[in-house]
């Protein structure tokens, strides 16, 4: 369509100025946007109130639909499965064989573990869940990987708590509202998870790649021992996640480490479990940091 004629206002100074002013305002809007971005980076939780209000406002719709239909996140996977079906089949058969062996090994280890625990009379760390809920929506159009959970601070959910599904780790709580919480998924690029290789406790870091996979880097960079098929679990270092939660399976070796596919796909899991933070020291540290932040805000 041709541009409307009011773009060329003739000799009317007033009309010319008003068009010019709205143009300037547009540029000003972009500049203010950059400033807002700057604030977002300096204080990532500064605007959390706005997002929480947004999430709380839409939560009734999200929750109703999530209950009615179940979270739908597998459409893309279903389409993708049609391509490369044959190669996938072969790869899965190989994986199945390998898993069968590993499963037997794991069973043996579990039995041995139980025996040793009985011997030591170790009281297993109470790992009760804080709540079980559905993921009700996610940032499926953005390159951030954040999901919204159907329970919030009124159910006892606190920032930093790990969220997991039976299949594996989903992420950790980023922001909480009264009845919703925002979960930073493991696959988010800003989420770094301390992991270890299940078979030999080799420590590494997993950083999200934004597409359901993570970059795995061993702490000792000089050698790269990862092989496709290696299972990664949380290591418990850092104190946020309790050790032994499965996270990902290595699918590809790279120059500096490996790429691993996450075991729990947030789109497919039904309900997720919010767990308490693993170690009390970490809780104390978080509280201290928060109170310091509050103090500095008051000082300002």
């Amino acid at each position: 369509m041709a541009p409307p004629t009011n773009r060329r206002p003739g000799f009317s100074k007033r009309a010319q100025y008003s068009i010019f002013a709205s143009y300037l305002l547009g540029i000003l809007g972009a500049v203010v946007g950059l400033l807002l971005l700057l604030i977002s980076f300096i204080d990532p939780r500064g605007f959390s109130v706005l997002r929480t209000i947004g999430a709380e406002a839409t939560a009734p719709i999200s929750k109703t639909l999530a209950e009615a239909t179940g979270a739908t996140g597998s459409a893309a996977d279903n389409i993708a499965a049609y391509f490369n079906a044959a190669s996938k089949n072969a790869a899965m058969k190989r994986e199945l064989e390998k898993n069968r062996v590993e499963l037997l090994e794991a069973k043996a280890i579990k039995q041995e573990n139980e025996r040793l625990k009985r011997l030591l009379k170790l009281k297993e760390e109470t790992n009760d869940s804080i709540g079980i809920a559905r993921l009700i929506s996610s940032t499926s159009s953005s390159s951030r990987r954040i999901a919204t959970l159907g329970i919030g601070s009124t159910s006892g959910v606190l920032v930093g708590q790990p969220v997991r599904a039976p299949e594996g780790l989903i992420g950790r709580v980023l922001e909480t509202g009264p009845t919703t919480a925002r979960i930073l998924l493991v696959s988010d690029g800003k989420n770094v998870t301390p992991v270890k290789r299940a078979k030999d406790e080799l420590p590494a870091f997993a950083t999200g790649r934004g597409d359901g996979t993570v970059d795995v880097r061993p702490i000792n960079i000089s050698d790269n021992p990862f092989e496709p098929g290696d299972l990664l679990t949380t290591s418990g270092s850092g104190g946020l996640y309790s050790p032994g939660i499965p996270i990902a399976m290595v699918i590809e070796k790279t120059d500096t480490g490996a790429i691993a596919r996450l075991l729990a796909n947030p789109g497919n899991v039904g309900h997720v479990i919010v767990q308490p933070i693993f170690q009390a020291e970490t809780v104390a540290q978080i509280e201290k940091a928060e109170s310091e932040a509050a103090d500095s805000e008051e000082a300002e």
Binding site: M1, A2, P3, P4, N6, R7, S22, Y23, L25, G26, I27, G29, A30, V32, G33, L34, L35, L36, L37, I39, S40, F41, P44, F47, L50, R51, I53, T58, A59, I61, S62, L65, T69, G70, A71, T72, G73, A76, R134, L135, S137, S138, T139, S140, S141, S142, S143, R144, R145, I146, L185, G189, K190, R209, G210, D211, G212, L262, P266, G267
Partner: protein
């Protein structure tokens, strides 16, 4: 007034409908992320952006240049991007589109689609780089399905917005 007694010529729809319908549809597009669609990679087209682009290209004179700011802010609240991301990117798109409108003599459908495609790719790639600048340069291929899907969806959104626009101005 009863239907039979209304003037049958020179009728105007309510001012509120004319003014409020486009922003409301854009906000509805932005709030689509509240639906229980959970994915582990970005795939859902940015509906708010598609709707606002469709309105902008169908009705070039309707939007003031600064409208990218408030609409972008609302989109940021629901999209999960850092606040300010869509504010900046949408404002930039509006300023550039306004400049283009000044230069252009005439435009056809295909040019509109092309302009919308460039704007979509700009906003999505820009949004990803804003999230994590140097690192995400390596992962831009993650966006290809989303960009393609958005570009292919754009004509349908334009149809829809066109229908809404007909209703908006019809009496």
């Amino acid at each position: 007034m009863a239907k039979g007694y209304r003037s049958t010529i020179n009728r105007q729809p309510s001012k509120l409908r004319i003014k409020a319908v486009p922003p409301i549809t854009v906000v509805c597009g932005s709030v689509i992320t509240a639906l229980p669609i959970i994915t582990d990679h970005p795939i859902l087209p940015p509906m708010g952006l598609l709707v606002v682009l469709a309105w902008r290209l169908i009705r070039p004179g309707y939007w003031p240049v600064w409208i990218g700011f408030p609409l972008g802010l609302i989109d940021d609240i629901f999209s999960g991007q850092p606040i300010g991301s869509a504010v900046f990117l949408w404002s930039t798109v509006f300023v550039v589109l306004d400049t283009l409108d000044r230069k252009a003599i005439n435009r056809d459908y295909w040019q509109d689609w092309f302009i919308a495609s460039v704007a979509i790719a700009f906003v999505l790639v820009g949004g990803m780089l804003i999230v994590d600048f140097p690192r995400n340069l390596l992962f831009l291929d993650v966006l290809i399905p989303q960009i393609l899907l958005s570009i292919l969806l754009y004509p349908f959104i334009t149809r829809l917005v066109g229908a809404i626009d007909n209703w908006r101005v019809s009496s």
